[in-house]
């Protein structure tokens, strides 16, 4: 009951974006995928969601993602895309309910309200989606994903959240709120895979980190083991220094600037 990626290769036309990639994600853990722009993070999570044609094997709870029917995957995982559009003026709660199939209309209503409350949008059910701010829209989408993958763990196995840059358009308080929701889902036995740009949030919340560069996994493991000066500097192609916060052991990252004489120094 894991997410396994074996010998994955993805091509866009003639361009090879990912070649021979192996990765695992376990339920009960928040797995973050980090790496520079164009390293293949989003491509990897799209392949895991079955959005792209690929070579190799990806299985989720033992289901072959490539061969699975859409509803088989939808039953065990929800997907938060990087950007979302909505064609018609739906209310926020209708957006949240769109992903729900089993159960009665009353069940849907109850679960959708609870999901909105969980992302801090309890009073927003009957607001028009288009009239919400970018961050609120992002959280409505997260509520939709939570409503779909509701129980972190069920008798038949864990459910999964696949989050492509879940905090990209949020302020710092809501970044923390969303990461905490994801973390709680993992603590309760669910699986979470998140593409992350913010290395410090990754250091604070991730249980496992997958560092990608040029379509390959550069390093994988616990944040403290993987988020090192050497790995991150190599991945991002710039001088980075990792430190640990005084309280707790979560690593944090500061970029180094190079001054005219070529000496490294802390950025102001």
């Amino acid at each position: 009951m894991t997410l396994t990626v074996r010998n994955l290769a993805v091509h866009y036309g003639r361009k090879t974006v990912i070649d021979g990639l192996y990765a695992d994600a376990l339920p009960g853990a928040l797995t973050a995928i980090v790496g520079p722009n164009g390293s293949g993070k989003s491509t990897l999570i799209k392949a895991m969601c079955g959005d792209l044609p690929y070579d190799g094997t990806i299985t989720l709870n033992g289901i072959d993602v490539f061969r699975a029917q859409p509803w088989e995957l939808a039953a065990v995982r929800g997907v938060l895309p990087q950007t979302s559009t909505l064609a018609f003026p739906f209310h926020a709660i209708e957006v949240v309910k769109i992903g729900l199939t089993s159960g009665t209309e009353a069940d849907h209503e109850g679960r959708a309200s609870a999901a909105l409350a969980r992302v801090g949008l309890a009073g927003y059910a009957n607001r028009y989606y288009q009239e919400l701010s970018g961050g609120e829209q992002q959280r409505v989408q997260l509520a939709r994903v939570l409503a779909q993958a509701w129980a972190p763990a069920t008798a038949s196995g864990p459910n999964w959240l696949m989050l492509d840059e879940p905090v990209s358009s949020l302020d710092i308080a809501h970044q923390l709120q969303v990461m905490r929701i994801a973390q709680n889902f993992a603590r309760a036995g669910g699986g979470v895979v998140a593409v992350m740009h913010d290395l410090n949030l990754t250091g604070l919340f991730a249980d496992q980190v997958l560092v990608m560069a040029e379509g390959q996994v550069l390093a994988a493991g616990r944040p403290a083991d993987v988020m090192t000066d050497g790995v991150l500097s190599r991945a991002y192609g710039c001088d980075l220094r990792v430190n640990t916060a005084p309280q707790g052991m979560a690593p944090f990252v500061l970029p180094h600037s190079i001054d005219a004489s070529g000496n490294a120094g802390f950025a102001e």
């Binding site: 509803w71 895309p81 018609f88």
Partner: protein, 335 residues
């Protein structure tokens, strides 16, 4: 909502049976039908052979155009879409014009057997043919690109328009008149034969389209998300395209070019009840039927005893209503 629409449709439908060019008052005739009394010969002909098939055709065509418009707007995620976008209208127009202008070149056995139905049959085949061509062009490796379809539809429409132009150029005056009136749309030539030919196609495809509610709701969030929530996106697209092509192809074939029903009905309903496609589709069928029967009544009485082409009525009433809707929800329309 749908109960009210259905009741209104029945009332307007009965009313439409009593309206017409003959001075036979059909109010009493309808009462006779209810009481089970015999009708006079004239009453029977006017009621059963002229007005009843016309009403049936109005209901069928209105439902087909409105549901077609609703499905297209959902599929293209664009509130300006109408059935014309999948090439049905342009192809059907080309088919109809070909039949009108080139009938002299058709083999005698074909004219003898198909006769008066040559124009509708050609229009239906033209509409279907162009949709299938468009579908082929915009489908790669089993995936249909809706964007390609939209753009290719414009190109294909222009091509069909040019070919129609050539036919218009070589047509004589009588043919020119025929094809102009075809383009304006009319339920005037209604007969049971037409209603029974178009009826099954329209009823089956409208019912199939009404089952697309959840699929179109999902597509409103984009194709990727639609798949993530468990929808077979390609199947939704296939069903949408095929049902619209069949329903509107049959509708255009028997009634000619009737505009604005397809674009206005979904807008009115979304204002009244929100964008959820599950109730929207069935209500669109009812409201489309209602508006077209109403437009046909207006077309028949406004310059009685002559009648106006119904396409003019729907455009004159539809265009201002559409503008009003756009002004009302300014800022909500997002392309």
């Amino acid at each position: 909502m749908h109960v009210w629409l259905a009741v209104t449709l029945v009332v307007v439908g009965l009313f439409s049976l009593t309206i017409g060019a003959t001075d036979v008052s059909l109010g009493p005739a309808l009462q006779k039908v209810v009481r089970g009394q015999a009708l006079t010969r004239t009453e029977a002909i006017v009621l059963w052979d002229i007005r009843a098939p016309r009403l049936a055709l109005g209901v069928l065509v209105g439902a087909a155009l409105a549901v077609g418009g609703t499905v297209m707007q959902g599929l293209f995620r664009n509130p300006l879409a109408d059935p014309g976008l999948v090439g049905v209208s342009a192809g059907a127009g080309l088919g109809a014009i070909s039949a009108i202008v080139l009938v002299g070149f058709a083999p005698a056995w074909l004219v003898r057997n198909v006769g008066d139905h040559l124009v509708p049959v050609a229009a239906f085949l033209g509409g279907w043919g162009s949709t299938l061509l468009l579908y082929r062009v915009s489908t790669r490796r089993g995936r249909t690109s809706v964007a390609t379809m939209l753009l290719a539809g414009i190109a294909l429409g222009a091509l069909a328009g040019a070919l129609s132009g050539i036919l218009v150029y070589i047509s004589d005056d009588r043919q020119l008149r025929d094809l102009t009136f075809w383009g304006l749309g009319s339920l005037g030539g209604a007969s049971w034969a037409k209603a029974l030919a178009a009826g099954p196609i329209i009823v089956i495809s409208v019912l199939a389209a009404c089952a697309l509610g959840r699929g179109l709701n999902g597509l409103a969030l984009g194709e990727a998300t639609a798949a993530h929530i468990g929808l077979n996106v390609q199947r939704v697209k296939n069903m949408a395209i095929l049902t619209v092509a069949a329903a509107t192809g049959a509708a255009v074939a028997v009634s000619g070019g009737i505009g604005f029903i397809g674009i206005i009905v979904p807008h009115l309903l979304r204002l009244a009840m929100g964008p959820d496609h599950r109730p929207l589709l069935i209500n669109a069928a009812l409201l489309g039927a209602l508006l077209l029967v109403l437009a046909d009544v207006i077309a028949r009485v406004i310059i009685a005893p002559a009648e106006l082409p119904i396409g003019i009525v729907t455009a004159v009433l539809g265009a201002p209503v559409f503008l009003w809707i756009l002004l009302r929800q300014r800022g909500m329309v997002d392309l």
